[in-house]
């Protein structure tokens, strides 16, 4: 009896009293509330905003303008440039990351001395704040005392020295290189873990059959990595297409829009140009493309794996 009364006052017992089912809902409530309230709701609200002329100057006042923002986007040359750059960057970055990730993973599963050291430090580039990576790369490519130009001068190629982020031809490749620098180790580590999970018997059998090493890689390793490759591609298509920091912090989209991507352009439209409605329309275009890209990735890789 006394146990009964005491349990009525304990909060744990109170939750249990509600029954197992509602207890489950109570457990998931905080997480869902934060995710839905702060992610899903703003996104839906953003889609609505894209049909209005809302401005940052007076966000309370906005009028419905239908598809006007979208018509303006179609005729906005900078938006088109940014869209093209975003797609170009996403495709080239993810493609090269998978390729280089496979190569690095293959190196990391070799049984050579000190390989554990290489494995353990690999992902350091991925955990650093992007602003820190940007500082590193900007500092390395400074005109007069950046490492790249010092090395070029030392080997007698001083005429190539330039302010790399300020040059229209080299700025975009540098953005791509920063993406590779940050993410290739992540791919490699994920692929490596999947490679280690493949049964050694398969390779043993292939060796007995006299299959060359690249054939083993093609016929055993790669098919077994299909799922993890799919996961990494979807993750990084999203990450790269959405990434705002690399471009905004290193070049701000310049020089002369040479590195402008959708996130940086939309951000500037909203927060420097005060055009919240117009920026939202750009964001909705991004959302649609992203959904399409993820679906295509899914299909493409599933199709490959069924061959």
């Amino acid at each position: 009896m006394s146990a009964d009364t005491s349990s009525r006052h304990s909060p744990v017992a109170f939750w249990q009293g509600l029954g197992k089912k509602s207890f489950g809902y109570a457990l998931i409530f905080p997480a869902l509330f934060i995710i839905l309230g702060l992610n899903l709701y703003p996104t839906i609200e953003g889609i609505v905003t894209s049909f209005t002329n809302q401005s940052l100057i007076d966000p309370g006042k906005s009028a419905w303008v239908g598809l006007e923002n979208y018509f303006r986007l179609v005729n906005d040359p900078v938006f088109q440039v940014a869209l093209w750059h975003s797609l170009e960057l996403t495709f080239s970055a993810v493609f090269l990351q998978v390729l280089l990730g496979l190569v690095l993973a293959h190196l990391l599963i070799q049984k050579v001395p000190a390989i554990h050291f290489f494995r353990s430090v690999a992902m350091i580039t991925w955990v650093l704040p992007i602003i820190a990576s940007v500082v590193m790369f900007r500092f390395m490519t400074l005109l007069n005392y950046g490492l790249v130009n010092i090395l070029l001068t030392d080997v007698g190629a001083g005429q190539l020295a330039r302010n790399w982020f300020g040059d229209e031809r080299s700025a975009f490749p540098l953005i791509l290189i920063m993406h590779l620098w940050r993410n290739v180790p992540f791919y490699a580590i994920a692929f490596m873990a999947a490679m280690q999970a493949i049964s050694a018997d398969l390779y043993e059998a292939a060796r007995i059959d006299g299959a060359a090493e690249w054939r083993q890689f093609w016929n055993i390793t790669l098919p077994n990595l299909r799922y993890i490759i799919l996961v990494m591609v979807v993750l990084h298509v999203t990450f790269t297409f959405n990434n705002f920091d690399f471009v905004f912090l290193s070049t701000g989209g310049g020089p002369v829009n040479a590195t402008e991507v959708l996130p940086s352009y939309i951000y500037k439209q909203a927060w420097n140009g005060y055009a919240l409605g117009y920026a939202s329309a750009g964001g909705v275009v991004m959302l649609v493309i992203l959904v399409l890209l993820v679906t295509i990735c899914n299909r493409f890789i599933k199709g490959l794996s069924e061959q």
Partner: protein, 277 residues
């Protein structure tokens, strides 16, 4: 046979050298430069003289402007986000993994979907929502914001983790008189440590590195974090790269320390989360 092995080693090491030079040179150059005085940085020489090495940049970094405020803000916010993500993420994951809920698939979808939303789109209504709640330029606002960014991954990954733990384990504990919350804290937590650590680490890294949301939701020195501070340094201290590099090193040290602690578990955690969805 004896001859073939070293050849393989050499090829492997050459390949690794190419990759790791590319990965590590920017970091090494940054750290090296942060210990050089201004004349040395601008000398255009690859390696400094021993006499040119100094701690002066670090001393000055703490003297100028609000660097220590930025550091404290970043640290406080990232720690709170880490704890909230692990707590709410594990509670939610426990529910999704162990309870029969109506609309479970819908919950999982709702939790995963935001990962694919463009942040620049989310940010616009987000700002208006936050200003209606009077949470612009507050620590709580930033903590909630970052938690909403890290929870989907945390919830998703921890659900996978809990699913992999045999249900017999908590049934036995329940029969022994353990409460339902007790099952989570006493039975699942100890087994799921790698998953919890990875979810927490992920949350810390995202919060510590976020520039986008802080740049809009923080409007005074009171709430600004390191990424904003470093960006301000870069644009205002244009020639003082000694200070900028020192500030950047200070900004990466906590993540590197945290990384070195969890590194062993990071691989298994991230990939287990990816595989057991």
């Amino acid at each position: 046979m004896i001859k073939r092995i070293p050849v393989r080693w050499i090829v492997t090491y050459c390949g690794l050298a190419v990759f790791y030079l590319f990965l590590m040179v920017p970091v090494v150059w940054l750290v090296l430069s942060s210990f050089r005085n201004n004349d040395s940085v601008q000398s255009g020489k690859l390696l400094p003289e021993l006499s040119e090495l100094t701690f002066q940049n670090y001393v000055e970094t703490f003297q100028i402007s609000n660097f220590s405020t930025y550091l404290i803000n970043s640290f406080a916010i990232a720690c709170c986000v880490t704890m909230l993500t692990v707590l709410f993420g594990s509670l939610g994951a426990y529910a999704l993994s162990r309870f029969t809920l109506k609309g479970k698939r819908l919950f999982m979808m709702a939790a995963l979907l935001p990962q694919f939303f463009p942040y620049v789109l989310v940010l616009i209504p987000f700002y208006i929502l936050m200003s209606n709640l009077n949470l612009v330029d507050t620590h709580i606002g930033l903590i909630l914001t970052h938690t909403s960014l890290t929870l989907p991954f945390g919830l998703w990954m921890l659900t996978g983790y809990f699913n992999a733990i045999p249900k017999e384990l908590d049934q036995a504990a329940l029969i022994d008189g353990c409460s339902r919350l007790g099952v989570l804290f006493r039975i699942l937590y100890p087994v799921a440590v790698p998953g919890l650590v990875v979810a927490g680490f992920f949350a810390f890294v995202v919060s510590w590195g976020d520039y986008l949301f802080v740049s809009i939701l923080s409007q005074s020195n009171e709430t600004q974090t390191l990424p904003i501070g470093l960006q301000t340094f870069m644009s205002s201290l244009e020639v003082k790269w000694g200070l900028i590099t020192a500030g950047t090193v200070l900004a990466i040290v906590p993540t590197v320390i945290f990384f070195s602690i969890v590194q062993r578990r990071l691989v298994s955690g991230l990939t287990a989360g990816a595989v057991k969805s």
